[in-house]
Amino acid sequence: MLSQQNRFLYIDLSSKTISSKEPEETFLRSFPGGRGWALPYLLQNLEPGTDALSPDNILAVTTSVISGARGPAMPRVIVCSKSPLTGSFGESEAGGFWAPELKKAGFGAIFIQGRASHPVYILIRDGQVEIREAGHLWGLETGSAQDSLRQELDDQRVRVLQIGPAGENLVRYAGIVNELAHFNGRNGLGAVMGSKNLKAIAVRGTEEIRVADPERIRSINAWTAKEGLQKPQGATLRRHGTLPLVRSFQEMGALPTRNWTRGTFWGGEEISPENLHETIYIEPKSCFACPIRCKRRARVDNEQYTVDPRFGGPEYETVAALGSVLEIADPYLLAKANELCNRYALDTISLGMTVGWLMEAVERGFLGTEDCDGLEVRFGRGEVLLPLIEKVAHREGIGDKMAEGSLRLARSLGLENEDFLLQVKGQEVPMHDPRVKTGVALQYALSDYGADHLVAVHDFSFATSDSPGITEASGLGIFQPVDPLSLGPEKVRLFYYMDLYWSLVDMLGMCTFGFVPRGPIPVEMMIDLIRAVTGWSVTLWELMKAAERTIHLARLFNLREGFSPADDCLPPRFFTDFKDGPLAGKGGIDPQEFKEAVKLRYEFMGWDVVTGKPRLERLKELNLEDFFGPG
């Protein structure tokens, strides 16, 4: 049953060949989805050193063995490739409706190689696959392209996963979007799609997914909708999404502000969840079969701006990246900027951080107005934000350099060694200050695809004996509170376990907001859910091992691309104290403690501390020795 429902589809756009095969169930059990499907294929079929934007790169659009079943918080599509932003293994997940639709159409994953001679889209309808002309869609923003596709297919229910003009123009932080509001935002995977002249993958499936125990899935859904939403995690997500973090970090003094030179923002009240709900938000929206409904939608219709709720609304990461980082406090402008990024399919985090870098470069006199096409690119100058988004998406003027990401932009100007570049492995940092939660510091440094916050342990969940990580996630083996600021062995252990756990959640196309400690569903219920879909008598131990396999494979991928332990680092600004607010004069991460913590994590993983290479015996234990290469 599982092999049939998870057929792998292979498409070569250069030769226009299409084939498929059923994966073996033993493979599926060792690698149940997502990066677990992508990494073995990439390691076996992608030559080391391949340009991420060349036809030879492979784009893996994947789901998991449980995708498509009507369980809560498991709607995500996982896209993997070599990243054009980082040059490392690249991965990004998105919620929405597309992944379940692909499963209902008969496939678990699509592996795309080559480059079409002209713009095309892929159409998949109930097992039938076509490569179709997309010249009429190329250049269209995402809303118009989706409308046009649905009209020509005469099917309003076709699900469209697509790039916008940013991906077409090979912006290195272009994203991929489904249903206009669900983003594979990070790592620039939209540019990989653009480099293949692939505008969209339209999918329609009518086959219901067969599951082993439908009654158990229904009962878990009912529990989530009733008890789960009464728990603080569920209730907060339903009421405010991720936005309460604006207020929390502002009050703590750790809200990324003015390109991270400050921890408090004068416009904090304007971008608070309460004010955003009063000014721009309408009722929330759900992903496939999920009762939590955490997605925000914005609507604006005033003299200055019109914002269409079809494109969703800014959530915490965007509000901080385009708001406090740039000192822009106008909720209507933030809603419009978010909509514009979604129309062009641009990652708002990397965009905001690249604009932030430029603003600081100007403020500190490294660049002038003349270097920025005459725009006054300074903190608080909201009027430059929309023009800069236009320039980046279309690679016009300064936007052409900004489209390369902050690291390449800084390098092109000889400024890469200045202290205001905040990236890891080429990817701009997300909006969580590692100086107040050191598990995030470890994640930023050690993530295989550059600075990332989704598989990080967010330390406050384990800070005290009554924190949800301790009281509700004890099945993960952390029984004692861990100090959010420590970098000792207890923190490295916590990071190690949670890295496995969240990697597992990602790999299965589950949403981190569904499951404890971030979401309401307990670990035991998650395992029950996986058993109910697959019919496997699977255990948490087995699944954590599956996640661990992928971390080693990603490591091997990056090593052969030339990455080394020196790349597992943090931007220098995080080793300095906060300059303002409640944390002024405090907070800088101790470089020696950080170095020791990274080294200990290598040792936990069985990686050589000098070369970073996984030891052969460790790979043998994980049944990965075939991937052990020379060097």
């Binding site: 603080p232 907060t236 997500l237 309460p244 973090l245 406050f460 800070a463 924190s467």
Partner: protein
Amino acid sequence: MSSGAEKMGEENLKIWLKDKRGDPDRLPEKIFLPPGSRLLELLEALPLAEGAGYYTIMVNGEIKSRTVELKDGDEITIIHLPVGG
């Protein structure tokens, strides 16, 4: 609220609360606790809406463990830290 909120004795600690959750009426401005009280005891005495596990506490502007012993005049900041925090 614990009886400590109403009783003020020479030997008691006076702890100032800065409720930062946009809900200033919920908590008192100050609370009195017996000497030797830890942050844990203070939190148990407060009517926190979602259980203390969902809040991060700063003592005099620093993030502290709940086992820290409080001193007279300490200023407490209570920060609601929801999902992903």
